[in-house]
Symmetry: C2
Subunit: 233 residues, 2 copies
C-alpha cells in the first residue's frame, strides 16, 4: 500500500534507506541536467550557423528547465538540493572534462549518445521507484524533441565526408567507456544509491544476473543510437 495523498509522502519514504537513495538519485539527475546545460551552452560556440546555435541553446534550456522540479522534490523529501547534488559533481565534471568535444559534430554526438545513455540508465532505475518519483524521473529524461535535429545534421555531415564517420564512431566508444568509468566510481561511493538497485525488505531489487541483463539492454540501446546516426558502435 504505497498510495499517496497530494502533499504527503508515500509510506515507502518511512524507510530512511529508500529516502536517502531517492535524494541521491534526484541529486545526481539534477546535477546531470545542470552540467548538460553548461556543456550544451558552451558547445553553441562550435555551431557553424546561428540556426544551429539556436537549436543547441534550445536543447540546453530544456535540460535546465528540469532542474527546478527535481530540486522541489528533493526539498519535499526534507533534504537540501545542493547538498544532494554535491556527491555527484566530481564524477560528472570529470566525465565532461574527459569528453570535451573538439568540434561541432563531436558535440552533437555527445549530446545524443551521452545523454541518451544517461537517460536510459535513469529509466532503468525508475522501475524500482514509487510511482510519484518514477513519473518525475521519466519526465526529467524525456528528450525526443532534439533527436531529429542531431540525427539530421550528423548524417548529412557523414554523407559529405566519410572519414568523419570513422572518427565519430571512435568518439561514441570513448563516450561509452568514460560514462561507465564514472558510473562505477559513483556506484562504489554511494551506498544508498547502490542499495536502491539491490532492493530492501519490502522492495524488489536486482541480483547480479539482472544487473547483467540491464547492462546488456543499455549497450544494445547505445548501439541502436549509434546506428541511427549512421555510425558503427
Amino acid at each position: 500500500m504505497t498510495a499517496s495523498v497530494p502533499g504527503e509522502l508515500p509510506v515507502v519514504f518511512e524507510d530512511p534507506v529508500y529516502r536517502d537513495a531517492v535524494v541521491d538519485l534526484l541529486g545526481a539527475i539534477a546535477y546531470g541536467e545542470i552540467s548538460a546545460f553548461e556543456r550544451l551552452a558552451e558547445d553553441g560556440k562550435l555551431a557553424p550557423t546561428l540556426e544551429d546555435k539556436v537549436e543547441i541553446a534550445g536543447m540546453a534550456t530544456v535540460q535546465f528547465s528540469r532542474v527546478g522540479p527535481l530540486h522541489d522534490r528533493i526539498r519535499a523529501l526534507g533534504a537540501d538540493p545542493f547538498a544532494a547534488m554535491a556527491p555527484f559533481r566530481e564524477a560528472l565534471d570529470l566525465f565532461h572534462e574527459h569528453t570535451a568535444p573538439s568540434d561541432w559534430y563531436e558535440s552533437l554526438v555527445k549530446a545524443f549518445v551521452g545523454d541518451g545513455l544517461a537517460d536510459d540508465f535513469y529509466r532503468e532505475i525508475a522501475a524500482y521507484l514509487d510511482p510519484d518519483t518514477r513519473d518525475l524521473v521519466v519526465a526529467s529524461v524525456d528528450d525526443a524533441a532534439s533527436s531529429a535535429f542531431v540525427v539530421d545534421r550528423v548524417r548529412a555531415a557523414i554523407a559529405a565526408d566519410h572519414r568523419l564517420g570513422g572518427r565519430l564512431a571512435l568518439w561514441g566508444r570513448r563516450l561509452m567507456g568514460e560514462a561507465l568509468t564514472q558510473a562505477q566510481r559513483v556506484a562504489a561511493d554511494r551506498d544508498a544509491l547502490s542499495a536502491l538497485l539491490a532492493g530492501g525488505v519490502d522492495r524488489p531489487g536486482l541480483d547480479l544476473a539482472a544487473i547483467g541483463r540491464m547492462f546488456t539492454r543499455l549497450t544494445d540501446r547505445h548501439a541502436e543510437r549509434m546506428a541511427e546516426l549512421g555510425l558503427s558502435a
Copy 2:
C-alpha cells in the same frame, strides 16, 4: 482603426515601412536575447558557488525562452527570423566583446545594468508600436525576477570590499558608453528602425527634443539602477 482579428495583421502593417521597422526591431531584440543567453551561460563559469551558477543559468534560460515568440511573430509578418536578426549581430557581438566581464561581479552588474538599459530602450520604442507588437515587446523585456538576486549579491560584495564599489562604478559607466556607441551604429545603419522613431504619415514620431527627453529618461533610469546596486553612476 487598427483593431486586429486573431491570426490577422493589424491594418498598420499595410505600410511596408512600418512592417520593415517592426521586423527590424523584433530581430534586434531576438538576437539580443540569444546573445544575452550565451553571455550569461558563459558567465556561469565565474560563479563562486553552484547556487550562484544555477541562478545565472536560470536568468540565461529566461532570456532564451523569449526568442521563440519573437521568431514566431517575425514569421507571421512574412519575414525570416534569421535574416531579421542578421543586421544586428555585429553591433551586439561587438558590445559583448568590448564588455567581457573579468570577474563574477562585473558579470552581475552587466546583467543588471546592461540588460536594464536595453530593456528600457525597447520599452520606450514600444510606445510607438501597434498594441499586439507592443505587448510582445514588453513581455520580452520584463526581467524583474532576477533583480533581487543581483542586487543582493553585489551589495554584499561591496560592503565586504569598498574598493570593489569604485571598480564596479567605472564598469557601469563603461557599459553605458559602449551601449551608446553600438546603438548609434545601429541607428546609422538601419533606416527602417530610425524611421519608426521619426514617425510616418499616420503615426506619431519623435522630434529632436523628444529624442533628447527619451535619452534623459534612459540615463536617469541607468543612474537609479546603479544606485540600487550601491554604485555611483
